[in-house]
Assembly symmetry: C2
Homo-oligomer: 384 residues x 2
Amino acid sequence: MRDVYIVGAAQTDIGELWNRSLMSLAVEAVRKTLAQAGGREPDCLVVGNMLSGELASQENLGAFVADWAGLGQVEAVKVEAACGSGGAALREGYLRVAAGVCDCVLVVAVEKMTDQLPDAVSAGLALAADGDYETLHGTTFVALNALIMRRYMHENGCRHEDFAGFAVNAHRNATANEHAMFRREVSAHDYAQACMVASPINLLDSSAISDGAGALLLCADPEAGGARRRVRVAASSAASDTIAVATRKDPLWLSAAEASARRAYAQAGIGPDDVDLFEAHDAFSIMAALSLEACGFAPRGRGVRLAMEGEIGPRGRVPIATRGGLKARGHPVGATGVLQVIDALVQLEGRAGASQVPGARVALTQNIGGSGASINTHILEAED
Amino acid sequence: MRDVYIVGAAQTDIGELWNRSLMSLAVEAVRKTLAQAGGREPDCLVVGNMLSGELASQENLGAFVADWAGLGQVEAVKVEAACGSGGAALREGYLRVAAGVCDCVLVVAVEKMTDQLPDAVSAGLALAADGDYETLHGTTFVALNALIMRRYMHENGCRHEDFAGFAVNAHRNATANEHAMFRREVSAHDYAQACMVASPINLLDSSAISDGAGALLLCADPEAGGARRRVRVAASSAASDTIAVATRKDPLWLSAAEASARRAYAQAGIGPDDVDLFEAHDAFSIMAALSLEACGFAPRGRGVRLAMEGEIGPRGRVPIATRGGLKARGHPVGATGVLQVIDALVQLEGRAGASQVPGARVALTQNIGGSGASINTHILEAED
């Protein structure tokens, strides 16, 4: 397997982009990324997306994006793994370059959610859960996460306010991210006052419905693009878990996240202590806590303590959501896995301003599809 | 790159399977396939599917199938390329084994279409076309193909009845396929009398809405399964074209199919004359004609002549639809690419009964997503 480098990366703004279409978002991300690589043509296009068929009336997304981005007869395919689609697309691109099948692969991840009414979006998101045993009975995706959070609080004897640090950190970091959806700070008091969505999950525990796209150019040749710093994909791994929460042996343990992280650490030859920042899948506060535990940064039931103790900030022991995370940068679901990597790159390049992690060299990104069913983990390493 | 062998293959019946769910179809195909390989566990699961979100209320299909098929924490991902999803999934599996990333990959392609009303299915299928420039204006997928067929007849001076051979051949071959949707012969007279769908396409020019699944087990070790004959994937290739028909330089030339076939021939070191049978994407008669031309079996505008001259039967010059094709075996859209390969395997193993192609050793399969936008081509070669 060859080394794979990220030689170009760009994204759109993230938010409720009422005047933008799925196509225009994807094409913007592609064009900006290819411009960084001096117009180099990719051998293959991999698109990550979850809900374009349901929310934007378009499937066949590989060919669709290739066509509208002017990429000619390039090989093009879409991969879907619910909210983990972006990470899954990155892995397909990584494998092609690592295997020598392609020299240069463009990965673009995109989601356009706001053209539909919120009920349709909720119904779409619920497709990530088990249709027969969860969704059919009326369980929304936030409800599933609420059940998990309630159980976590019960088993570990913690209170709702203990989770405040996740939202406070994410929003503070987003103020330094020009593409972020929410560029304003929130306080622990704001968190305590936020309206309830599905008890105990409130508005500031939840990422928002949003639009956006991000793209990465992966090459075997580190000099192919105009990257500010040579960044290698040191590991790429995937694992799956039961699709329904109820059928897991332990609903409070993301075992696929653990398996995927373990494989990634082994491939990169590092451990959690070597990671300078962790772009976790903080779609809900509880997912941030569980991700910290599954990836080895805290024992079971103690992930929330890292937030309570201020260890998740840019100068903490395990910086997460360093550019706002899913919570404040925004969570256009199928695009998130690539946006996490772009955020990590900005850190590795030292361009994160007020939310810069000092001396960042190794970044972990983990993208989750469903309530823990589809996991892709990547490790980025700056080579100097 | 390593050689890749197909060491297990199985499918469900194809048809209007009112009492079957998406899950049960996928799981049946998986279990039958793994049973052939002595219960060998795959390293990875790739699912091909187009419309599970729209028609079967389920996304996150990689994890969903892995879970319900009891595959534990295996890496699992879904790929989508409209009606070409099955072929695209096969290519992802092939690349993983060829690259040495995995030793054994399970590819399962599935579609459940009949739980929704026909209008919803038509709307779903139209998602393969350009949302803004085709579908939004009311063009259904059969209408797009009708425009192409009408133009073909006009430019090449042929009549509707000239296409009869495609349906006659497909239905005759399907009588020997125990899994086929339509196991009855049709005559040229039946074809002439069939009711119109979208002029000039009539009922016997069109494949039907159907349910079904197929699975393939790909391994680097040809002895890993219980295959009757050692069959290697001699080539795998992909290409894309503009998503809208109107923006192609020549609407009567499947240029991505040509590019994909050219790459496949080059990889396998063969040409059209070496192909013993061709499982073409005959979703509509016109697509069969255009595929024969794009893959080098007939000059532009002459594909239909192969049908008129009886050269597409099992003992003809270019046998196609040898087990019924999309037309008579059935076309559960996202599953078709894998079903084509299963049909080809049955031929290479000499088990096709009355529709057996004598001495079949090399098979070409080509799966098309959209009206020619996403193409995957594979060549299978029996090694003896």
